[in-house]
Symmetry: C2
Subunit: 582 residues, 2 copies
């Protein structure tokens, strides 16, 4: 069916919307694909809905290809299953909660692990039933603190979430790999430039986890990649290469120095270098001790934790939190210092921590035999040449220090550079958390129960509309890849005389009959207005029917390259049918 611009529910805008921060938001609104209804809530106008559906179709095909079976859950869910896994509370303010007329608690589903696990438990019982992969393409809800960038980060959005159910870890690894390959196919078909980055598995307790990030300077996610290898990772997932341990023997003894007014690393280094100690110190020679408090989720009691990192780096709170998950992390308050007088602000050292039973974790660079300048647990005093493994013994290591461009890549090849991206997919070996919560077992061949292991895999379907726009646009407007474009050919009738109109109508009808999805600009507008709208809307091929028609030619313009070609009117249907692959 031909889509006529004269009746299409569409008004393009000349001005950028006031709240648009990123190109995709600006263009999707200007070109009439989406409209804002509420913070983080958008309506899909006809063009936007077509692109969304095209993306869904690609996702469905690739999910079916790996044996995924589509089902669909309600979005309005009872509290109980989420209470059983703790997520009712853990989600905090990000969960939309409500009560029904009887006062029962409900939520709007952010993801559906609980429901999938319960449903498989309800239907399946024997080991012969497994493995199974189920998925849904569904509207999800998260009460984002800062919904932004149009449909890039909404509060109501469409996700494909799938879940694999396997009898053992090998099975899970295989299901994970199948999804990884399916995601590569999906994002390739959608014409995306993306990287696959190692991610932390976090609270879920799973083993493997990777994110698919679309490369975008406007992206919210920072990741690092190696200058000389394929290595890429979320900053939270970067591991710090540990240097080899050094011999302790022969190291100078630790000495406490009076270092007045040196509560910061900078003042300390300046003091040391002016103190005539026979060598030069840098911030990297100092060991900075940061104290936080942690607790198990939904418990009362905090425990104090010491973190030691080289003084030339800051603590990256996100990395720290990711390392400590599922523990809650908080900074100390004055009351905490008052209650623990051994914590001498600005001069905290490993000794007081360990003497007072405080768990102490250090950066992986703090290996046995390394010597450090650090606090002496006394106002205006530091200790020099405190040697790890001799003068103090950490309780373990932790990834808490910031990652910097130029750091060595964890795979040993090249150094790290930072880049920004937008998360478009996430694959994740969940493990048995949800199976444990609900007792999801299969009866084995030996009649013994086998605890099922799960994988969880998400694609941000509605977000992809914006991500593709983010990567495929120019100054004039959107430039859709053919796989998701709202139409194949945008026929512009450029001229007012009847013959041109009739010619445009005839070509549009012939293209439509040939299975080509056609936009026909049959409005009584100037060619200038029509061209501008065609460029803005971004259908990959523009067919201009204008004055040339009298000479038997029409113009085919490639939206992306801007290339124009005159084609004899009697060949253009075959030419375009071939071009668009119908």
């Amino acid at each position: 069916m031909i889509t006529r611009m004269s009746s299409l529910f569409l008004r393009t805008l000349r001005e950028d919307p006031a709240d648009a921060e990123v190109p995709s938001h600006r263009l999707l609104v200007r070109a009439g694909y989406v409209r804002r209804v509420a913070p983080g809530g958008y309506s899909w106008l006809p063009l936007g809905l077509r692109v969304l559906r095209n993306i869904e179709a690609v996702v469905r095909e690739e999910m079916a290809a790996i044996g995924g079976q589509e089902i669909q859950f309600p979005a309005l869910l009872p509290r109980e299953p989420y209470e059983a896994t703790g997520r009712w509370t853990e989600y905090g303010d990000s969960l939309f909660r409500l009560k029904d007329r009887k006062g029962a608690d409900y939520l709007l589903g952010p993801t559906h692990e609980e429901l999938f696990a319960l449903t498989v438990k309800g239907e399946y019982s024997s080991y012969k039933d497994y493995p199974v992969v189920l998925y849904q393409i569904q509207t999800k809800y998260r009460d984002e603190a800062r919904p932004r960038a149009g449909i890039l980060r909404g509060r109501e959005f469409v996700m494909k979430d799938s879940y694999s159910f396997d009898l053992d870890d090998d099975g899970l690894a295989k299901s994970y790999q199948l999804h990884r390959e399916a995601y590569i196919k999906i994002f390739d078909r959608l014409g995306l430039d993306y990287v696959i980055v190692a991610a932390t598995s976090g609270a879920m307790g799973g083993s493997a986890s990777e994110e698919f990030l679309a490369v975008a300077p406007t992206g919210e996610d920072t990741y690092v990649r190696s200058t000389e290898s394929d290595y890429a990772a979320n900053v939270e997932a970067v591991t710090t290469p540990a240097p080899p341990a050094q011999p302790i023997e022969g190291k100078p003894e630790a000495q406490v120095h009076h270092t007045p007014n040196t509560p910061t690393i900078e003042t300390l280094v300046d003091f040391l270098n002016s103190a005539d100690l026979g060598r030069t110190f840098t911030a990297a020679d100092t060991l900075k001790n940061v104290i936080v408090k942690v607790r198990q989720p939904r418990t009362e009691d905090w425990e104090i934790l010491g973190i030691g990192i080289p003084g030339d780096r800051e603590v990256d709170l996100k990395r720290l939190e990711a390392s400590l998950e599922p523990l809650e992390v908080s900074l100390l308050e004055e009351a905490d210092f008052a209650a623990n007088p051994f914590l001498v602000k600005g001069y905290i050292g490993p000794k007081a921590l360990q003497d007072n039973g405080v768990r102490y974790l250090v950066d992986p660079q703090v290996v046995t035999g390394t010597a450090w300048v650090t606090g002496a647990d006394k106002l205006d005093h530091h200790v020099v040449d405190l040697v790890a493994g001799r003068d103090f013994t950490p309780d373990g290591t932790i990834e808490a220090a910031e990652v910097r461009e130029g750091d060595a890549s964890p795979d040993g090849k090249g150094t790290l550079v930072a880049a920004r991206g937008i998360e478009i997919g996430h694959i994740f070996q969940l493990g048995r958390k949800y199976a444990d919560a609900f007792g999801l077992d299969a009866l084995g061949a030996d009649a013994k129960p086998i605890r099922i292991t799960m994988g969880s895999y998400g694609v941000g379907v509605s977000r992809l509309v914006a991500v593709i726009a983010e990567q495929h646009h120019d100054d004039l407007g959107l430039v859709w890849p053919r796989a998701v474009a709202p139409a194949d050919v945008h026929v512009v009738i450029a001229g007012k005389d009847e013959a041109v109109f009739a010619g445009g109508e005839k070509l549009a009808a012939e293209l439509d009959a040939a299975g080509v999805r056609v936009f026909l600009d049959d409005r009584k507008a100037t060619p200038g207005v029509k061209f501008a709208d065609a460029e803005l809307i971004g259908v990959p091929t523009i067919l201009v029917v204008g004055r040339g028609l009298a000479n038997g030619v029409v113009e085919v313009k490639d939206r992306a390259s801007g290339n124009r070609e005159e084609i004899p009117v009697d060949q253009v249907v075959a030419h375009l049918t071939d071009l668009v692959g119908r």
Copy 2:
């Protein structure tokens, strides 16, 4: 792609679910189409989702055929637009309301009139833009007091809601007619037995309104139809034919009688017939006066209203409320009687009402010249021969009396009989209520604003899965019409030997290649189990590949009729391809 029963996420149940009241619920659960997640919340398993999608596709095609353009709104909506139209309050407990993290009020959309009106206002400005028909197929939410019958009445469900926007009443009538015809096509294609009944336009203030009801003895909606014409109507929409007015002259004078202990119609009639008044009375000769109180929605003050209906009928509260919409209606409390001492319980007559300024509406049968026995506004007293138009003058008529089987059909042809149905569609001339609320105007050719008039049209898409099942099943299971069936052919491999399996696989592959949607029961189960599942699941055509294969024949069974036919194996693919119309 062949759907294999060996890996399909499906477990059929032998037992009916405990909470299933109606056949569709029972069978959709037993055959593994849906599963209950919460009261009124169901998940769609693979088979159910396919049927749902097939129905959606039919709806989409017919909406596109009348020029409907698909868009999609969020389900999570801000309070303000619904506040503007009063529906935030009017929906009462049926609306799911919630707050976001900032405390702002939201609702889960029950229907989207407000959003559609606002969106058209946002995009369109000129009279040249109109008419337009927009629709969505979307998940909706209503906090039903009694969710029941599985997906027949859920709290989360899928609806197609469309809205027409026209410049004038003629345009609206045309848009309405287009929808009416589209709905007939949709429900015919879905194989439904349904009636179109006149409905009340209610609070919306529109003029025309019709409901499509699927005929079903289990239906919640009662309607009446004529024994001798096409007339059908919701009970609320039935109009009472008024008899011709009678001459007043010559009627006996009204006389008050002492009628002790006659507070009910029955005791009154008995008394009159034993009182030697020279004639026989029936309940139909009496005029019963029922007093209610009414008020404008969201206001404080009640007004008393008198309703006079023939004493042989009860007041039908639903009809009364529909007649009085949008007013709120309540029965009187003791305090009301105390405050209005002229209301003598059991003996209320028109006189006291009119003397005290109480509005008084009567049944359309109470025409000028009719004489009635009614209350004399005094304990134990009634008045006989009180003549309408002489002794009292009602303020108007009202449809409040119950409708009974045997009543004359309002179209003058035959009498009414009652029947039950399930609402599957509703078409409705909304008029200007929403355009007024939001100032939705088009700029006319004369530069003057034209207030837009709207129509609203709904199809209960997810409910249709149940309604079709309700009309298409037998003792063995579901019997899907081909247009919505989850597959075209269910291939049952009936036998364990390899040749039979290989034969079944080969035929399934050939059918699949020919574009036929195939279920293949390749499980290692007994033929009995497989047959029972095939009957329960209800694919229209069952192909049995069994012992006959050795003799070159297979069996084709029609699920609906039970007819079996042996077909040579080398002809069966052509036979089935032809049969299913692929």
